[in-house]
């Protein structure tokens, strides 16, 4: 099934071939695993959300109007699932622990430990962003989507997305001062 297009796999799935959907899962899981992981800051949470997203996609496949654009349609579901999960978790826990020691440690650390510590510091700073800003930053600068593509998967307008990315950068710059040289 590797050579089949998304549209062909969607059609086969609709006809009852669940192996066709398994191929779609294999095709897209890694692509979305990074986004979910960066959005949620936890691989286990990312896996749960991705599983939920794929299941929602399967159940809603009849409503995928243009199966040639299954990837974008699935991406929108993943983004929505991550946003919902992150928002609920934020409301439920408000558990972010501001840990200046992490950042201070990074600022003074030498290579090679600095690489992983830098990433942890960046992930923590990212996690402190409001969900909509985090989502916009990751889509733009990690997933490298164009603003028009971001608008398609988030449902937000381009100007609003640009503002979210700008504010995210400002907050990250404040939080990571001395960690990421600019």
């Amino acid at each position: 099934m590797d050579g089949l297009s998304d549209a062909e796999l969607v059609a086969a799935t609709r006809a009852g071939n669940t192996q066709a959907f398994a191929q779609l899962v294999r095709r897209y899981r890694d692509r979305h695993a990074r986004f979910a992981s960066r959005m949620l800051g936890d691989r286990d949470d990312a896996e749960d959300v991705l599983q939920s997203a794929f299941l929602r996609a399967y159940r809603g496949l009849a409503r995928c109007e243009d199966s040639t654009r299954f990837g974008a349609w699935l991406h929108a579901i993943v983004v929505n699932e991550c946003r919902t999960f992150a928002t609920r978790r934020g409301v439920r826990e408000r558990r972010l622990v501001r840990d200046p020691m992490v950042i201070d440690g990074v600022a003074s650390a030498g290579a090679p430990a600095a690489d992983s510590a830098l990433r942890r510091a960046i992930e923590r700073a990212l996690e402190e962003l409001p969900v909509d800003q985090r989502e916009a930053f990751v889509l733009k600068h990690v997933e490298e989507l164009e603003y028009e593509e971001m608008a398609e998967v988030t449902g937000a307008g381009v100007s609003a997305l640009k503002m979210r990315v700008k504010r995210a950068c400002e907050r990250l710059r404040e939080r990571l001062q001395g960690v990421v040289d600019d």
Binding site: G16, R29, D30, R63, V138, K140
Partner: protein
Amino acid sequence: MTDWMNTEEFAARVATPLKAPVTLDAGFEARVMRAVEEASRPWWQRSRTFTLSPIGGLALAAGFAGLMVLGALGGARMLGDAPVVAAAAPDTVHVVRFIFVEPTARSVALAGDFNGWSRTATPLSPADGSGAWTVTVPITAGRHEYSFIVDGERWVADPYALASLVDEFGIASSVLLVGGDERRGT
């Protein structure tokens, strides 16, 4: 312009370590497909048991017959009312009659989480020349979402449901609660 470029450079530096690939657990695909296989079964084949007591069966039959009379006598306004749970005794199969009024429709189908959002599995039949379309569906207790599909392509929320929403697919759908003391879709 300089500030903007600086921001871009800063963002690129922050994003670089975040671009490292993330490896999912080896059992991820198997878990997803188990859930998919479960979801693809008809509701009566899922891992849940249902019982229909003799009294419940009588109540079911009586309730259904009553609804049929109600539907026949009610006219368009009554026919357009929200889905009604015909039998609400706990632990029984619940029969819900869906009614949709669209005189100009050539076909109407019901799609919901209870039929895998199939566009074709649950067609409605024209009732009595009044423009009403109906179908009766056995549904498990709980919260369900559904839409009507008019002429095979237009997804329409139930105008008489007490709650509707637009989901992540951009499709309007309605919410139905079945079971317990619920008597109407909400």
